[in-house]
Point group: D2
Chain length 174, copies 4
Amino acid sequence: MPMDNQAAPELQVSRWFNTPAPLSLAALHGRVVVVEAFQMLCPGCVSHGLPQAQRVRQVFAREDVEVIGLHTVFEHHAAMTPVALEAFLHEYRIGFPVGVDAPSEAGPMPRTMAAYGMRGTPTLLLVDRAGRLRQHHFGQVEDLLLGAQIAMLAAEPMTAIASSAACNVDGNCG
Amino acid sequence: MPMDNQAAPELQVSRWFNTPAPLSLAALHGRVVVVEAFQMLCPGCVSHGLPQAQRVRQVFAREDVEVIGLHTVFEHHAAMTPVALEAFLHEYRIGFPVGVDAPSEAGPMPRTMAAYGMRGTPTLLLVDRAGRLRQHHFGQVEDLLLGAQIAMLAAEPMTAIASSAACNVDGNCG
Amino acid sequence: MPMDNQAAPELQVSRWFNTPAPLSLAALHGRVVVVEAFQMLCPGCVSHGLPQAQRVRQVFAREDVEVIGLHTVFEHHAAMTPVALEAFLHEYRIGFPVGVDAPSEAGPMPRTMAAYGMRGTPTLLLVDRAGRLRQHHFGQVEDLLLGAQIAMLAAEPMTAIASSAACNVDGNCG
Amino acid sequence: MPMDNQAAPELQVSRWFNTPAPLSLAALHGRVVVVEAFQMLCPGCVSHGLPQAQRVRQVFAREDVEVIGLHTVFEHHAAMTPVALEAFLHEYRIGFPVGVDAPSEAGPMPRTMAAYGMRGTPTLLLVDRAGRLRQHHFGQVEDLLLGAQIAMLAAEPMTAIASSAACNVDGNCG
């Protein structure tokens, strides 16, 4: 499901793992960003989504493609705490940055998950070099197709990005 | 590694799931007992040990073979709490009884794990109809071999068991 | 599907591979015999049946359990010739004895396949130490169940076999 | 191993399956061509290469990407005849066009295989829209990487192709 020209909502993260400093989609402009939204106790995430994200990390260069995990806990909150997540990431040798999707007062669904209208986990998002949401996969997506989609985003010219990052004469920068 | 004539140490469990009443090896005399010792955040348990225990549950009749999970947490204690385990069992659809190995004051290794001298997880124990420990597998064991070992224990005559369960004239029962 | 007291029809083989001399069920009395009936161009045989037979060969001792492949070609006869089979066995590293089921003038189904009433490939037969057909699996059978069935046949006492191998006073041997 | 600006040697095929008319790389100019070189009795081809080629066929549109099998028999020639191949393609449900690499008088290696300097099977070749060999993978290649490579070739502009396909005023066409 292509989603042209739609700005990707910013990540709302209450805590980061595997990164010295907080990350944001804004700061990653210029790279393709693969966001793997998961829950540590979701069997499909453990058997499919996270191993696939690890393969993406190995196949694509970090200067072109950033891989971020997003722990979108919408059930069993008492079980999937940050402490539990930290142990999980260690045992499953997840090396890429992982953010804890910020809890919401509005309900069990955390903030970023709600902003993207995710239906569950695993969900994989592709954000292009200009920060636009281009793919939103719920459930499993084939490696062949995913590799093709990432490569096409990585191959896109930077022209549009340069213009969107231009500053106006009044000093406002895009 | 056959372990003839060795009585299996009793399970020391602080909490049970998936069973209306606490279980014990003593109460299961007469059946073969398969004990799957695992940790919910152990990748080899999730990908191999627990699915194998589920297959054992499906293939063998419960009147011959009982399958018990034992949550032997020896690391990341703050992550693998009973609350987290309950969510894990629900998400992974583990239907057989699971006991939480009782914590020990002596160190991070819980009591039953220590009593059996387990080296880690997953560990699979086979206890015969007479309550003796007959196999102790650490790591992966093939389904073909495990099926053979369980079947041979299930096929053993009950003679020895009957005698061990006899009561002496002074009223002491074995 | 247990098949008690049924004598297993003798193998009718036109050519053997991986054995210095022809084999027969009669000559294998005293051992459990696992017969893996397959076709070299049957996908389910290549992905499931033959690898399983190889695992049986590795797990059980040859003095207790003999594993025999039977090439039951009932279609594409021009493709699955003995010359082609020989190359197949070499490339797939099948080391156990394999017999070519003898062609029949009556139709495309070879002789042994017809005698057993096989429905297709893969088919796995279990013959007990006394030469009786005890299991007839068409399609896939789980390793756990197969391991259990083989072990139980291997554990059966030899009494009946000894008597059936006795010689009468008039010189006829069973 | 990128192989820029190298024209892909034409396929030399003695017989085609699954296509109403013979194919050639020349006639496929304008599309990316994925050539899966295999032998029907090569285990790695059956378990990895051919299923991957089938996935490529499903994921990419035929107007952009053509998938061709090439039966490069360099051993067991008596076993892997065209008759045997036809049965194999039927049983394994290979639906894309497959050519039999033409035998050579010079030795056991067929003509196209020799022209490409293939080291064995499976080998996967990627030919770009302009008919140039761009990737030559021997053994296994990951789906993610392959998907990326195919997509990037499919995304290349047709400019160079148009010019290379131009005809000179003297009547010679590139």
